[in-house]
Amino acid sequence: MKLAIVLLCVAVAAFAVQFGGYQGYGRYQPAPTNERAEFAWSRLQYDPAVGSSGGFGGYGYGFRRGRRGLWSTDYPKADRTFLDALKRLTRINARSYEQPVSLSTDDVFNYPFLYAVQVQSWTFTPPQAQKLHDYLLKGGFLMVDDFHGTADWDNFMLGMRMVFPNRPVVDLPDNDEIFHVLYNLDDKFQVPGEQFVNTGRTYEKDGYVPKWRAIRDDDGRVMVAICHNMHLGDAWEWADSPQYPEKFAGMAFRIGVNYVMYSMTH
């Protein structure tokens, strides 16, 4: 109930910012550079793989990726909406604005939490792969989201295997600590993108079943949290839409908050 009230407040605030719709390209102000906080929501900027639709176009409407590439799907509204919820629901001192981070510089090591989307389209140069490898083993945390079906998985793993050639990918059981660090997420369900509003489908491509998976470090901690066959970013982005079901947005916020809390405690 409390979460619903929060979401309503967030929706009202976001509504006021958007001036009545979800087509507010340009409504969001550029991220100021003078806000300093403990936690910054860091979105991974990656190079698109050859053959991926990482350039123009794509589906959906509203303020999405424009000309920046698939890494910027739902950016920055999803990020900022999620940050509003994170700040409201926890004592995390979070920055109000997102932080794009590239593996081409060492700046990534200042942000121990990374979020990446549409990762079926990512690829890395050897130095970038080594950097991400080191980042994760030193204590960094990567959350990937919004990729669906078998083909997307295979392409995602092509990039992941450049970072960790041999580490296994495991399913996260319901009793894993990541699902109980703040909220108890015993009953999880597939969180669809905003296409659900028009299609009624919770899945995209052949991603019928949601998969919560992970790559663990040598001590069993989750360092790569894989949200396959779901679209949490869209749920955050469209949480203020009356058409988008609250239950999906609520679940997406809970998962996101749990993942962030886990990354800051493990």
């Binding site: 936690f39 926890t90 809390m261 800051m264």
Partner: protein
Amino acid sequence: MFQLLFRYPPAAYARGHFVLLAAWPAWLLLVLIAAFAAALIWLLRRRWNSRTAAVWGLQSAVVAVILLLLWQPALAVSELQPEQNIVAVLVDDSRSMALPNAAADSGPTREQAALNSLQSSLLPALRRKYQTRVFSFDSKIARVADAGGLSQIKPAAPATRIQDSLRQLLDQTGSLPLGAVVLLSDGADAGVDAATMAALAARHIPIHTVGFGSLQPPRDVSLDDVELPAEALAKSRVQATVRVRQNGFASQHATLTVRSGNAVLASQPITLPPDGQTATVPVMFNAGPAAPKTIAFDLSPLPGESNRADNTQSRLLNVVTRSQRVLYIEGEPRWEYKFIRRAEAKDAQVQLVSMVRATQNKIYRQGISDPAELADGFPTRAQDLFRYQALIIGSVEAAYFTPLQQDLIQAFAERRGGGILFLGGQYSLADGGWADSSMAPLLPLTLPSHKGTFVRADLGPDSNNGRKNATAALTSFGGSSIVTRLVDDPAANARKWRGLPFLMDYQDAGTPKPGATVLADILAPDGRTLPLLTVENYGRGRTAVLATSGTWRWQMNLPLGDPSHDLFWNQLVRWLAAPTPGQLAARISPSVLYDSGAAHLTADVRDAEYNPAVAVPALTAHIQQPNGTAVDAPLQASPQNPGEFSADFNASLPGPYLATINAPGFGQTTVSFERFDGVAENFHTEQNRDLLQRLARQTGGEYWQPAQAAELAAAIPYSNAGIATQQNLPLWNLPLNFLLLLLLPLAEWFLRRKWGVV
């Protein structure tokens, strides 16, 4: 020369006092002297100038001398009766007396020089007037037969214990008229205690000491002392402090090696200090697996060293496995929290139990032993909080803790003996209202009076270049602290710290209090130098402030595999927790025994709230001896200090001892100690003239060089000991008096001639 003028030896004047034997009162003398002087002034008043003043002075002095002689001055002094008193002669026969008497390696030994002095001059002179008894002494005395006995004295005893020897002498001669003691020694001893000095003073026995051995230290390097904790956790870094002294090898280099058995634990070059000075050298090594161990410290010998036996010392180290439980409360989810937990997860002997305020009304607990632990939040009972050995307080406002909890936190350090670490943060220190809280005395710094002291890093462009952000730097104290030692070599360690990535945040923690030590500084981007890591002993425990929550950036920005961040936290947390005592704690004094077995064992028993325990079953120390046998020593309760029990124990055998004390309901503890025989003789082999002079001075005797031995016999008679009579030695017939009566008028005549009035 002295006796030529003063007729009697200096000893007579030192022990006697001035008297006037005439029947007239002493004040009359003063009146007459003053009257004459005044009359002369009256006569000369009209022509008073510097010349008349000089004449007046000389004439007054002549009259004063004559008047003084009329009053029959004398020296009242007690003098031993010849043939009725005994003089005890003690000759040191410890191993140090086998060293050469002079600085050169060749020539007679100290023992030979002492015996030669005795036989050639001292004994014959003493025997003319007194009975003499000769003893050899080391830790005990032994009577030497007069006929040919001196040749039987061999310098082979392992230790010199002047105190014990004098005690025995007093006991053996209690009924004898002992007039004086002559002690021939090099003084290689720790000293004489006050009780023995008091016993000597009660019998008024002067001790005349004759010193042998060179006053100049030989060309030698000496490993004088080693300070090593009595206990260490298994696989932890241990720091020992070694004191090195040398003479003749200034600025040269030696190698200090630390061994346990055949295993070399550490080896490092050291630069020797200037001649006669002591250098303090820290050395670190890994304690290794749990077991009692003898750690040997060895200095490599240098060419030309006269004595190599003093290059080695050993100490006992009890390495234990004991889980340290540390409670960490964090007021908000922070990256530092995560990385501290990750670092401590690598330390098998630290159990980090943490609670973080995830939301306004939810606390996330980690590392708990059971679901009930901390279920109600921060402990509110002493027995719950005192289960931990250390406490880490993160970004938590002081007001978060109730008054009861605040009292408990103070008692945690003061009474329980635990360690408390405060971290920087937006709700910490001054920004968290700690300056005005009742817990402010816990902090080793005086916090600023203003808020806004917490500053986060600037991650904008060029944040890594120049000085846009705060970095850490070691202080001189931090350079020798085990907490901040990231690499063993001190110079490399300092470079390592200078090369650490900038901190993700820093906080102005104020000014260190007296007694606090700053181990590392913050070099702030505004040019200020602020304390970063400050430590202090508090009550039975210790407190520290780490004015940042941004060390996690070291872990993320150093190369993968660099252990600096984790090592720093492991060492800091161990420093915080390891010394925390249990409900039963024991100590032994001294822990290193040299040539003596007298040790005092003390046990401190506390209840669950760490108040002195009142209902304690009988305590017994089970002591393993070097020969494999064990003895039990019952401990007696102290009537003055509740909860304290003690026992005296005599470690009769050289070697290591391990005492175990078990108190059901309170726990078990062990303490180790070791006796070394014949080791102290190897150190400080130059003549200990200070000790010999002090011994003589405090007993009314004198210190003599061997060449003055003949004069010593003349100083013996003046003593209050033995059979003595009070003598009044006349002073009117001193040659000095006649000389004055001649020289004073001559001086006046000379002046008059000079002025042309004669």
